[in-house]
Amino acid sequence: MTDLNQSRTEQIQRSLAKRYRAEKRFRLYGTMAIAFGLLCVVLLFSDIISKGYRAFQQTYVQLEITYDANVLGVTDVGDSQQVALGDFQGIVKKALKARFTEVAGRKAKRDLYGLISNGAGYTLRDRLVANPELLNQTETLWLVADDDIDTYYKSIGSKAGAFIGRTSEGRQNWVAQLVESGDIELRFNRNFFTHGDSREPELAGIRGAAMGSLFTLVVTIMLSFPIGVAAAIYLEEFAPRNRWTDLIEVNINNLAAVPSIIFGLLGLAIFINFFHVPRSVPLVGGLVLTLMTLPTIIISSRAAIKAVPPSIRDAAIGVGASPMQVVLHHVLPLAMPGMLTGAIIGMAQALGETAPLLMIGMVAFIVDVPGGFTDPSTVLPVQIFLWADSPERAFVEKTSAAIMVLLTFLIVMNTLAVVLRKRLERRW
């Protein structure tokens, strides 16, 4: 009898050891999976940040600029037509010639003029308009360098060696001279946050796309949240259970899985071709993203409504609340955190969406920063796509920087969702 017991105990001990080993193994798998995921995230972020952080700085060159009325062809700063036609790039060229007096020959001169961005003239024009007394005066200014110079200057001293690319030997010499005299440096890139897109990488900014995304998302949330919540409440609280509501439910679930480009085609066919909403504008982008986001919001809102305990409903009905009052006073407040979470997830999805927007023309090259819902614009992910496609070397860091801006947007939205949920959550 004792022998039997002893052998049974041993058996159990053996099987126990086996079970514990299996458990340990299982935990190890889980830890490994999480470690792998974290590693991927760290790699992704470090790659993007290491490539992109330099886009927040821009190479500037210091020059002595003379606002020579004769070169500019401007006699009266108050005359906007004169100012508009003024040759501001001319005074930049003159300043460069004065700085590097030894340069001679057409080709070398053209090379020299390429040191400074084509956009420098606009900066000077704005300065002159703001300070008319500068006419025929001289001042020392930091001007934006050309993108090739920017890329070259940033790469000097890097481990991989300087990136020369299209930078000629003459330019390399001039840069060396400027470095020696301390007339070239990296400064904070304000253009990146204040400009729209540009063919010139040193002038290209994210503001146009960011504003486009903002306007598009405003349209999306204003339409999809009320419609989605109303649909969810009706389906969950008031709709009879029959074949029709079953059909609607199945279709909503199917819509959530439809490839997003199909929604773009739908938007093109309905909103643009039938209703003649202007193309490439945040309004139509928002409408298309609304179609795409609705299923997500409806499904999560229904889940949130279902999670409201029936006892609360019973209590409200029991004291004589009408069905609408039950929903407005009790179900909706309790389901709101879940609904908001769903809406924010939908918005985050919409923020990152590119494919449907390509179909409705938001992929256009748009220089102006949009100021409203019907101004042509593009959005952040499309801007990333466009820059990633551009041949200029300087767009590589811009692309990474744009991704960082998009990720910041996402993180802000998700934080907002968490904060809102925590605030609205009520315990029972």
């Binding site: 009879p240 409903r313 029991g318 004291v319 004589g320 006073h329």
Partner: protein, 291 residues
Amino acid sequence: MVNRMVMNVAIDMPAGLMETENEKNTSVYPEVSVGVPLVASPKMSMRNVDVFYGEKQAIYNVNVDIGQNEVIAMIGPSGCGKSTFLRSINRMNDTVDSCKVTGQLTLDGEDIYAAKMDPVALRARVGMVFQKPNPFPKTIYDNVAYGPRLHGLASRRAELDEIVETSLTRAGLWTEVKDRLDQPGTGLSGGQQQRLCIARAIAISPEVILMDEPCSALDPIATAKIEELIAELSKNYTIAIVTHSMQQAARVSHRTAYFHLGHLVEVNETEKVFTAPEHQLTEAYITGRFG
């Protein structure tokens, strides 16, 4: 959607009930409930009530009256339909799509299931307390004030304050919570929560209060408090209470109805049901042979 079939029922007592039955019935369900299901001037009366969930019939031909200021207890084994029957009385079953109630149910002679009867108005007259305490996730004050606000019973804040105080006092909770009316009702103990729910139900001065196993989630001390409360409330209200505890039924009720698998087997004075049950099934249940 509740389909409804009005039956022409003679309100007089069915013939079978008039006869005194000396010998115990067999275990088959009686044609008509034994005992005294009907009273002279009822507050509520139910005639030929059948309740269906889809195809399944949950209540079979129930005839019973609830007298004015009476406490009637409904007992019976689990799944016997007593909760279903209770929820039919104030049309809580309307919210269940598949549920269908037929027969005639009246409150002060008015047909509860008539087209012109507004279920919202009905539930203001027939309040309900549930098995699990279910206060709203609001403050104690707002829990009680919710009903009066809904129905516009108080035009001024002072009036509302008074309603809240009287209701909480009647529910025996006022002294315990008067200093923390602005705290969430969900923070109270289980027994206090249930009394809060009772206060909430009586705040709109219903005529009838239905209680669906109000003490099943409470400890004996909280239960004793609720039972005292029921005795107190019966001075002003008509109460129908479903309970699993036969001792509770014996303590609080005037009459007791015994349900068995959807049939109302026996209704009688509580004392009679527990000392001299007329039907074999009732006797089997109260002596603990099943249930």
